[in-house]
Structure formats: C-alpha cells, structure tokens
Amino acid sequence: MAQPSQAAGGLASIPALLHRNATEYGDRPAYREKEFGIWQSWTWKETETEITNLALGLINLGVNEGDFIAIIGRNRPYMYWSMVAAESVGAIPVPLYQDAAAEEMAYVLDHCGARFVIAEDQEQVDKVIEIQDRLHQFEHMIYLDPRGMRKYDHSRLHEFAHVQEQGHAAREEFTPELRRREAKLDYASTCVMLYTSGTTGKPKGVVLSNRNVIESAKNSAEFDHLRGNEEILAYLPMAWVGDFIFSVGQAYWCGFCVNCPESAETLTVDLREIGPTYYFAPPRVFETQLTNVMIRMEDAGKLKKRMFDYFMALAKKVGPSILDGKPVGFGDRFKYWLGNLCVYGPLKNTLGFSRVRVGYTAGEAIGPEIFDFYRSLGINLKQLYGQTEATVFITVQPDGEVRSDTVGVPAPGVELKIDDSGEVFYRSPGVFEEYYKNAESTASTKDAEGWVATGDAGFIETDTGHLRIIDRAKDVGKMADGSLFAPKYVENKLKFYPNILEAVVFGNGRDQCMAFINIDLSAVGNWAERNNIAYTSYQELAGHPKVLETIRDHVEEVNRSVAQDEMLSGCQIHRFLVLHKELDADDGELTRTRKVRRRIIEEKYEDLIDALYGGKDEIYTETEVTYEDGRKGSISATLKLIDAAVVPVATQKVAAE
C-alpha cells in the first residue's frame, strides 16, 4: 500500500485535527469526566480553548520546540489536553506510568531529558521532587490538583489552572508564535514518545510520528467503521500505546467522545453509566468480570439460576452464529430473543456492555471459554495483535471471522512476512521512527526496508489468511524428529482449564514432550470441598489420586486438540507430573509479572525431568523454598509420574523437505 507523504486536507498533526473538530463538530462533546458526582463535559470548541490556553501558557513558561514534557497521571481530560498542548508548541509529550516508583521514573525522565513535567497530584509531584536532584535537565513542574501542596516551594512548581490563565493573559503576545509552531508540524514530526515496559532490560523510548499515529488511527477506524458518535471509556494507563491510539489518535480522527472515570474504584459504575460503544480491555479484565458473574449466580435464587443456565447453554450454541450473521433456525432464534429479554440483556447492562459495537482484547492469549462467553451474549469481542513499535495494529480480526485461536488478518496497510525461523515481521505506515537515543536497538529491530521483527513466532493459515501466534521466538525449538516445538502454545491450552494454574512443557531437542503442572488451589480446593475430599495441605491435595486423574483427563484432552494441528502435533504431552509446590516469583521460578522462567525451572528440577524421561513411576525429591521474608527451607515429596494417552500422528517431515 502506498504511503502518502502528506495527509489529505493538511490534517497532518493532532493539533490540526483538533482545530478541524472544533470547527466542524464544535458543539459535540469531546471529553467527559465524572467529578463531584456529575458527568462534566467539554465540547470540541471548549477543548480547543482549553488546549490553546495551556499551549500559550507553556510558551510563556519557556517551552522550546523539541523539548520533552513528561506527563504523569491517571486518565483525565486535563492530562490528554497536556499531551496535545505539548505537541502544539512543538514539544514532545512523554506519558509515564503513574504507578511507577520514583526510581523507575528517574530512569525515564533522565533518559529523555525532560525539561518539564505535568503531574496530576501531590503523589506524583512528591515522586518527581524526590528524584529531581538527579535530573539535570528538569526545570519546571505543573500540577493539576493543588491539594496538599500549599506549603511547597513554588519557585519551580506551577498550578495547571494558573498556567492556563497566564497563557490566556499573554495571548496577544504568544498566539502568532503558537500558530507558527503549529504550522510547522507535519507528518514526519514527532507526535509522542512512549516507553516500552521493558520486560528485558531498561525501557526503550519509542518515537512515533504524526504519520504513525494518524495513519494507524485512520486505517483502524475505517476497518471497524468508527464514527463521530462513539463513546469510549479511557481507563487504561496513558503511557500505554493502546490508550494513546484509542483516546487520542482515533478520538481526534473520528471526533468521538472520551469519557474519564471518577476514580479507579468507581470504574464499574462509570462503565455502566457511560455504556461505551467501543471498548478495549486486556484478557484479565474479562476474566475477572466473568468470575464475578459466576460467583454471583451461585448465590442467586433457584429460578434465576435455572434460567441463567438454560439460556447460557442456548447462547453458547447459537449466540456466536447469530452475531456473525450465519443461518440459525427460527426456533433457536426465537429462544435466543427470549433469552436476550430475560438474561443476556440485563446481564450486559450490569456489565456495562449494552451498547458495545466493537470490543477488543489483546496483550496475551484469552481463554476460549471466556472469549465465547462474551461473544455468545452478542458482544462483538475481537482480538488484535499489536506492539508499541507498530503503533498498535499488526493484525486484527474482521467482523464475522472471529476465532479465539488466531489473532486475525493483517490490519489495513500492514504487510506481514514470516522468516525461515518462523519469526513474524511486519511493515506498515505505523512502524515507529526509532528508539530514542538507542540507534543500536533501532537497527537490530527495524531493517533498512522498514521490516520490524516482532520477536514472536507464528504462521499464517493458508486457507483463511489469519495469523496465529505460537510463542516467543526465542522459546520455539525443534523436537528430535525435526518437528516444531512451541511450549507456550501447549501451556496456554492447559492453563485455560480452571484447575490448572501454571504449566511448563519440556521437549526441546527430545523425542517426546513432558510437562510440569501446578494445580489452582482455589479451584481444586473448591472442588475437593464439594466432593468431601479432605486435605490438609497444598502438597496433599496436589498428590491426591482423584486430582491426578482429573489433570490427566485435561492433559489428554489437550493432546487431542494439539494433534489436530498439523504443525504442532509433535508437542503432545507423553508424561507429566503435578508439582508439590506452586511455582513462585520468590523462588525465582516466575518473573514478578508471573511469566515462567524456563531455564531456571529446567535447572532446578533437573531430577524430575530426568525421571520423566527415564520412565520411572514415582520419584522422591527435595526442593529448597524461599519464604516471603527471605528465609529458606526445604520441602520433600514423593511425586507420581503419570503417562498420558497421545494421539498417534504421522510426523510432518515430508512437509519440511
């Protein structure tokens, strides 16, 4: 797809879009925020005035073109205005995660050399003050909520409202300068800089240009037919690229309204009150909501419970087909309509999803049951696959082609290729400019032709054109017979069972796959209680014959499902064991974000892996554990090693040759 060097109609920057919206949809709401118990709203016209005053105030404070302005706070209209005002004056906004500790902020603020900081409240101001001695370029801080800061030294501190007032007072003097700076902004100028969360090493500053942001927003808005009357709820961290695209890029491109919740605690109530039409959440949010619904249904009356069960079973059967517009019999349609009246409608209303037209989930794999639950209710939940470096969009699922195991087709304007090792590469108008002050990383991620490595291994399904992500590229290996080994693919399938908390699959370079499994104490414990199975400890429960039997059923089910996959059928699990302790970040077995650290587990439990491959029936083991206070102890157990049935398949060597 050709990349236009200039946008149509001179709309080449976020401030330009702001002025267009203020002229064309001046009276439509642009922002709402619940404050003092009421939804306060600002039209596009008012938004333009607020942002202009702030921009003039920033010039008045001495912001130069090319300066970095860090923005720290939760989703509030004022914070979004700060980002746009920063761009208006030719500076580069850098939103930070507001829950980051002062130490983490110090690195980012120092790395970008921010001269100005716009902070939401005392909490954020205190953090910056704590580290300001180390920040050589830091000069002024603007704060939004004056509470508690009356006694602070105000030589470098400024209140947001005062900055706006001063800017407004000096409008005669600075307006020409502001217009001049705005006129200089084009597709190539920087729109925003976002720091990647940094799972490996220090965070990297991803520089996104206006082209990246506006083209991505435009393409994705067309893809999902987003219009000016959408309502979204802005609640995800402002430092995350997704929020920037949804709440700034797409909002300014389409001219729709961004709603900010009153506080993090009131989110569910605010969600219901707004009833967004376009919604985004990571899988864990959907998961928690589903769990809450299920727990509350357990407490419901008999009649309600039966109604819920009956109609949910029906929804599971026909809901997704109705959503996709596939043919469904009249009888089922009628029953679904009835169900909508009695169950689905009220449930969606409780969840705040009554009006959702397009919903997205991304970030990690979502369990098929969770995904299907929402879709069967008639909520158009889809998956997308993206990265900060791509300005979010790499692949998205088109309406009517939604599945839980793929991440969709390339987004408009995105080209995909898979290299020999299976790693996914993409090229698009959204591809980032560079990592700030890190030419080396830029070069190793983005090649001269603009192809970017995702670090994920995957393949494109030949019949549908959908991309399937298998695993992180560095974890993918080969089995002894040459077939593909992708541990996470199998582990995810296992983890979708509520009984299984964590799974680790081994088999790189071997002829068979083996697995460690952690049971989920709350789910299995609940099951044990209901079935009158007594247990005294995690270890005892994990070793209970009935539990082992259940887990074996799960593993065999997974094997059957894995066997259907041509490329990965070699990854079926031949033998497994249920670990006597939970994998724990304190023991170094998981990262703090609960990701499995494969190498460390492999070393630590070498005896268990050997026993699995050695064909023994049980093994005695002792494991060192670290308590939360740092003391060490050890636990011992005799673990059963269990065989699981596998589905025989012809190996895929032929295809490889």
Binding site: F36, G37, R147, G148, S263, T266
Partner: protein
C-alpha cells in the same frame, strides 16, 4: 475576637488568636466530679489534642465544648464572647461540628444522604416546599449537594457514595462521619477518638485527612485520641487530663517530658 496573639508552628503554619477558651470548668454528675477546674484555650487554625488515661474526663470535656453538657462552674468563651448555656443544635449553628467515639450514623441511609444531613443548618426551606420540591427547596438541594460532593471528593469516598452505611467496614464509617462533620463547614471540628479501632493503614489515611482538612480549609481541630504516636505527630498543642484535672498543657515535646504526664501514663506508687 480575642486580641491574644497567635504563634507560628514548627512546620511554619501561622496560628491565629484564641477561638475558644475554657475558664475554670467544673462538671459534676451528682457527687462525682468528672472535670475539676480546668482552663485551656484553642487558637484559630491549630490542631489541639486532649489526651489522658481512661476515665480522665476527655469525652466529658468534648461534650462541654459541644454544648451537650453544661458545666456547673466555669465559663466557655467562643469567638471572644461568653457563651450562655446552649442546646447542641445552637452550638452547631455557631460553627462547631463533631464526630463520635462510637459511630453515630444513620445506618440505613446511603453515604450521600448521611453526609447531606451535615448541611441541615444551611437549609431553611419549609416542609411544604420540601414536599413539592420546587423553587427554594430544589435550589437549596443543588447548592448543598455541591458542597457535599466536594467533601466526598476530598475524602475520596466517591465509590461508596450510594452505598448504605450499614454495609461499610468500620474504617470507612469513621471517614463518612468525618465527611458529615466537614459538610457543615465548621470553624471548629471536634473529633472524639477518630482512630479508635483502626488498623495502621486506616490510621495513616485518617491522619492524612485530618492534616489536609486543617491545611486546606483552615479548620481548627480539637481531638481526643489514645494513640500517642498519632497525637504527637498531628497536634500542635496538647492538653493532658488525669482524674478530671489538667496535669499538662503545651507542645507535644513539652508534654512528653512532663513528669506528671509520665506518672499518669506509666503509673506511680500512691502513698
């Protein structure tokens, strides 16, 4: 207003002249002397603590200030004038609000309605107007709701705005009580053991709120508290009572080193 001069606190706040003065207060219940000849003052803008062991007469003292008890002897001076014996609601109208040791909220009502009751003194539409909710009644409701919402925002209880008080945990109920007292926009705020029964985190929150109230609205605060750490950190001046008598008065440091106070708290051999 009294002409007595104020002072400047250690953290640089300017404290004004005397707001309230207790002169030789004695309170008797039949033959029992709850308070014996106590005098002290509360200055504008300060945080004044009243401490003492159990049964020292602290709550009685607070009830004298709030007008619930009328002392047999002595005078209460408020804003430079001697206060005649008053009903508690008249005291409230003068700008004194309080919280209670054992939470006294309307359990069945929502947080919002409870806090709205703190505005009663600011509403004077008649019953008939209230009933049809037109004109003055509606206008007043809107105005007062605005004040209440600011308090709710200030104390960060937005998420429980519509929750019935009975469903709240103890720590939050205490905060709602503070909200109701604040909604009255008092000059003098009386807090009867605001931290009693709280865990460390709740105590920290409450301390923060007390300091913020004082800082943000300039409200004078008189509080009774058992937790010495809290008292010493929060208050500007402390009155110490024991067996109904005043045994110490001064800054936290002065009081801490006062031998009588140490004896009262640690106990001393009686002859």
């Amino acid at each position: 207003m009294s002409n007595e001069e104020g002072y400047v606190t250690a953290d640089g706040r300017k404290i004004g002249g005397t707001l309230m003065e207790m002169k030789n207060i004695t309170l008797r219940f039949g033959g029992v002397k709850a308070i014996t000849d106590i005098s002290f003052d509360i200055k504008e803008g300060e945080i004044r603590a009243i401490i003492g062991p159990n049964g020292a007469g602290k709550s009685s003292m607070l009830n004298v200030i709030s007008g619930f008890y009328v002392p047999q002897e002595g005078e209460v001076w408020f804003k430079g004038a001697k206060r005649p014996p008053m009903k508690p609601y008249q005291v409230a109208q003068q700008g004194i609000a309080r919280t209670f040791q054992n939470i006294a909220l309307f359990e069945g009502m929502s947080v919002l309605d409870n806090v709205m009751t703190g505005r009663l003194n600011h509403m004077n539409a008649g019953m008939f107007q209230q009933a049809i909710w037109k004109g003055k009644a509606e206008r007043e409701e809107v105005e007062n709701r605005e004040v209440v919402e600011k308090v709710i925002d200030f104390l960060e209880i937005q998420s429980i705005r519509k929750t019935p008080v009975a469903r709240l945990p103890y720590g939050l109920k205490k905060r709602v009580e503070l909200a109701r007292a604040l909604a009255a926009e008092p000059m003098l705020l009386l807090l009867d053991e605001p931290m009693a029964g709280m865990n460390v985190e709740e105590k920290e929150d409450m301390s923060r709120f007390i300091l913020d109230v004082n800082d943000e609205f300039g409200t004078t605060i008189a509080l009774i508290e058992h937790d010495m750490g809290v008292v010493m950190d929060l208050s500007d001046r402390v009155v110490v009572m024991d067996y109904g008598k005043k045994i110490g008065d001064g800054t936290p440091d002065e009081v801490r080193n006062n031998q009588d106070v140490i004896d009262a708290y640690l106990g001393v051999a009686h002859d």
